[in-house]
């Protein structure tokens, strides 16, 4: 991504003009996705602290295609209580990837996924330890 151009673009946009184009968190996240990608979609995730730990609370569906490489970029607002984490689940219910290691607790803010099976996938988001938080997940196509 041409960062300078995008920064100028974001500055030039009216904040909150009818939607999220002026959302600085989305813009920051799109910029941090890297220089060799094409933006496809963003998911703005805002959740309170979960009363009980269950499954990820924010769910979206997205079709991914074979022979394409996607990058998931995860960003947090400074006031977030926890880090944004994600899982990708295929149409059989299998977890294809997750942005954290449940054993070590390590999280990744960037996940690159080489897709070899076209289909409908569920992208699940939550905040680590089911904390409250505000974050953005961006899906990009790696060129």
């Amino acid at each position: 991504m041409n960062k300078l151009a995008l920064i100028l673009l974001v500055i030039s946009l009216p904040l909150g003009a009818g939607g999220q184009s002026g959302d600085p968190l989305v813009s920051k996240c799109v910029m941090s996705a890297g220089s060799n990608v094409t933006y496809l979609k963003d998911f703005r995730v805002q959740l309170g602290k979960a009363s009980a730990q269950s499954d990820f609370r924010f769910k979206q569906v997205f079709a991914l295609s074979k022979n394409m490489k996607y990058r998931f970029t995860l960003c947090n607002a400074s006031e977030s209580g926890g880090e944004l984490i994600m899982k990708l689940i295929d149409d059989t219910g299998r977890t294809v990837l997750q942005s954290f290691d449940p054993k070590s607790g390590k999280t990744f803010s960037s996940v690159e996924f080489t897709c070899n099976k076209t289909g409908t996938y569920k992208i699940l988001f939550d905040f680590k330890d089911f904390q409250q938080g505000l974050g953005v997940g961006v899906v990009s196509l790696v060129k």
Binding site: F62, K66, V111, L141
Partner: protein, 304 residues
């Protein structure tokens, strides 16, 4: 460093059957032809099911990515230049054509034909204003970016983001039928583009991509299904998509399963899926899909 992850045996299978049944629930409602549906009571019944359906507005960008890998030259003849935005009278026409032109915009931008896209942007603005979503397009910025190739990434971002926002807005405001039409328009044009290119430039990757659209088409049909009874325009579109689905009936997509390979590189997690999907589609099936895709698309770009 190789990282082993515990693969959780989650069983969150995508359930589309609820969406299908919602169509039946809609049958008792009377809807006007225009988009001012009295708060889409029926639609809300199936909202959860509709959320389980993919809404890929970006698919033409992915198709254009394949075309560039194939070194297929840009062809303005593929564009829906027949569409006259000022002659679209119904919400149906405006929303569907907003999708079709959105796909063309993605194609133009991916090929860096940004100067050409200015005319297209004007048409998109008219259509978007016509269904009261023009506020999501910052046309002045888009035009400015179109005039400067170095801003291509920003242009792509802003264009796709505008469509994503419209989709979100329409659904939140109980105008999901227009959102579904827009997404259908994007898909119809992307499908047309892919099949037309294949006629001239046979390629396995693109051919498989066309075959795999069997999966996406099924999603699309379920997305539009709750609105098939809204009027003649909607029911015709539903029939067209069903006709296309018939052409895909014998196309087979098979899967082999594997465990994903994961590694860490430069602080990022890299995941390679070892599952494989395989498309089996005969030349005759492809020909039938191509002909029907073209027929359907050409019907909807005409100005009546």
């Amino acid at each position: 460093m190789r990282i082993t992850f515990v693969i959780l045996g989650l069983t969150l299978a995508v359930v589309f059957s609820g969406c299908r049944s919602s169509t039946g629930k809609n049958a008792g409602f009377v809807f006007p032809d225009e988009d001012s549906i009295p708060l889409a009571q029926a639609e809300q019944l199936s909202e959860e099911a509709l959320d389980d359906i993919s809404r890929n507005i970006s698919s033409p960008v992915e198709i254009a990515e394949i075309l560039q890998r194939m070194d297929v030259p840009f062809n303005a003849g593929y564009l829906a230049s027949e569409i006259d935005a000022s002659r679209q009278s119904t919400g149906f026409d405006k929303a569907l054509k907003l999708g079709i032109l959105g796909a063309d915009l993605g194609y133009l931008n991916m090929y860096e034909k940004t100067g050409t896209s200015i005319d297209l942007l004007s048409s998109i603005k008219k259509l978007a204003d016509g269904i009261n979503v023009g506020q999501f397009f910052d046309f002045e910025t888009l035009k400015r970016l179109s005039l400067n190739r170095s801003n291509l990434d920003s242009l792509l971002y802003l264009s796709l983001d505008s469509y994503n926002q419209i989709d979100r807005f329409l659904r939140e405001k109980g105008r999901g039928q227009l959102s579904a039409l827009m997404i259908t328009g994007v898909w119809i044009e992307g499908q047309y583009l892919a099949t037309q290119v294949l006629k001239q430039f046979p390629d396995t990757l693109l051919r498989n991509r066309v075959g795999e659209q069997k999966i996406i088409l099924n999603d699309l049909i379920m997305l539009i299904a709750p609105y098939c009874n809204l009027g003649n325009e909607y029911s015709s579109l539903c029939k067209d998509l069903q006709e296309l689905r018939e052409k895909y009936r014998e196309v087979r997509i098979t899967y082999t399963l594997g465990e994903p390979q994961m590694m860490e590189k430069d602080g990022a997690l890299i995941v390679v899926q070892t599952d494989q999907s395989k498309v089996e589609m005969t030349d005759e099936q492809l020909q039938a899909i191509t002909v029907t895709s073209e027929k359907v698309r050409n019907r909807y770009i005409s100005n009546k």
